[in-house]
Subunit: 174 residues, 2 copies
């Protein structure tokens, strides 16, 4: 099979809407709070982690640069919960996704690159690659913890070893 | 009544534990994820926003410097939900709290200052002052939205106008 090469596109709300929400203030409406000393960009993302006795938790993830070349050899998803990643240090990262329906065909996979301030919230069941940071960075994560011993009921994985996708990031500016 | 003056203390887990959780990676345990390319500081805070058909949402709040001198004239609380604030730009901010029980007496109020990277998650019902940033900064917020028209069932406020508390921040290093 021919090698698949995918060039990440800039992450925009329109393109990302089938996969989840973008967490950013740029271009969004806000209203004043705290006696006018602050503004709130409200409800940028919904945390949906309570199914099957789940709880939403806040964690921190620190990253090392993902080694080049970047080949997408698997995707994962959480069928019954959302999962958000927000950079705590300004950093561009790659987002590789496929829609939640059934098993994603390789040609249906899409790749995006954030602008350094954008965070994302994967919708329930969205196929995604583990966090692809290209530098040492720190992310806030909001996701689900289920009751023991069913930790695995909210995790599925698909192998793409038969036709891995190479990300072409030379022109991406990271 | 004599004026109350309160000097904020550095925010530590021990001192803050009656009021909520500190969201930071420093000094915490982590485990490897993503094929060893990242580490997860797991479950630093629990999001507890589902009572009474509530939903947890992710928002962004941008701040202006709170005008000096800083006088604490009111506190608020959310009786049935947690509320988290995490700085997206490194910034020290002030945290003024009182325990959830009944109406806080002014002498029971405590003030802390963060180290610039720390976030916080107020426990259910913890009395707290609205976000006290001393610079233009950006925070991620994880809190509850209730179903209309009961927006106010998760909000209480107490006035301290009769004995406002002045924060002594000269020695705080902000």
């Amino acid at each position: 099979m021919k090698d698949l090469i995918l060039a990440p596109k800039p992450l925009t709300r329109g393109d990302f809407s089938p996969f989840g929400e973008i967490i950013e203030s740029a271009g969004r409406d806000a209203f004043p709070i705290n006696f006018g000393h602050a503004r709130r960009f409200h409800r940028l993302a919904l945390v949906d982690c309570q199914a099957e006795q789940g709880e939403a938790v806040i964690s921190i993830v620190t990253t090392k640069p993902w080694p080049a070349p970047i080949a997408i050899r698997m995707l994962e998803r959480h069928p019954i919960s959302t999962q958000a990643f927000i950079p705590l240090t300004e950093t561009r990262f790659l987002v590789v996704v496929a829609e939640r329906y059934s098993k994603p065909r390789p040609e249906k996979i899409q790749a995006f690159v954030t602008n350094g301030r954008q965070g994302i919230n994967y919708g329930r069941g969205t196929w995604h690659h583990p966090l692809l940071a290209l530098s040492e960075a720190t992310f806030l994560v909001v996701d689900r913890v289920g009751p023991a011993p069913d930790f695995d009921q909210d995790y599925e994985e698909i192998s793409l070893e038969e036709s891995p996708i190479t990300l072409a990031i030379d022109g991406v500016g990271i």
